[in-house]
Symmetry: C2
Subunit: 168 residues, 2 copies
């Protein structure tokens, strides 16, 4: 397959300016798992610049889900926000430490934790949501709204299929 240094055809002086950027090899571009990771990696990098000083993406997802399901049992939520249960647990504790959610033990079952947003949590969610939506408009600016809907629906359907294979 040849040596990439000669393919690139640059001399050492130029290469010292920084590493050259190689395109992903075709075998990866055709691999759904790589493409999923690539999208996630790129989104996370953009999120860090635009929204992350407030909240990480997974923290944002948990606040969004607690807002949608007030009083939800913590153990019911991991799947809905695409986190494993231990990661979910540490995110919930961090959000509680920051005063954004409360975890209440119901008297009838002390093992459970029911989650609610605090007033500060609701306010943080509104601010972060506004920034996240601005970011999404930037990220999806080349795709019209209807095509976006179709694409996201299709991708959620694929994710559901993948998730179902793990439960078997």
């Amino acid at each position: 397959m040849g040596d990439v240094r000669s393919v690139a055809g640059r001399d050492l002086g130029e290469r010292d300016e920084g590493p050259e950027l190689l395109p992903p090899p075709p075998a990866l571009l055709a691999a759904p798992g790589y493409v999923a990771r690539r999208l996630h990696h790129a989104y996370t990098a953009v999120w860090v610049r635009h929204v992350d000083p407030l909240l990480t993406g997974p923290q944002f997802a948990v606040l969004t889900a607690v807002d949608a399901y007030p009083g939800v049992e913590q153990g019911s939520l991991a799947r809905a926000v695409a986190l494993d249960r231990s990661t979910m647990g540490s995110i919930v504790r961090r959000l509680e430490d920051r005063g954004f959610i409360t975890r209440v033990r119901p008297p009838e079952d002390g093992r459970k934790r029911l989650l609610h947003l605090t007033e500060a949590g609701g306010e943080m969610l509104r601010v972060a949501d506004r920034r996240a939506r601005e970011l999404d408009r930037l990220l999806m600016r080349d795709i019209d709204a209807e095509t976006q809907d179709i694409l996201l629906t299709r991708l959620n359907g694929i994710a559901e299929h993948w998730e179902s294979l793990v439960e078997d």
Copy 2:
């Protein structure tokens, strides 16, 4: 928005069988970043069952890229495999420890590390690649080949756009 316990309408006995599965809230289903993370999370969970005893997804991506670019400089590869440079570095060291790649310092620049697959690395890549392709056939079985191509090309294009926003 109501209390999810009453919405679910189950009694405590039933709920003790395990946490109920809530669907992702609509606000998340419409968020590209959530969908990207959801796909990545689901793919990783399936990969762990099918391929991971051999290699993790990122290790597989690095072997694939070193196979495509023999002699590549380590610092040039992170972007192509969608990893940050420090993660890339630790994966490369692990692959070297397992005897799958070699890192060679070129005499003209001792700071660089040029990567090559070993024979064992090439063999591991072939075995993992076969399993990964079987897995992808299972994951994409409901989508015909042409539609898959169109979808993956579109998603790689979106990822490229997102990556370009971080470089600005």
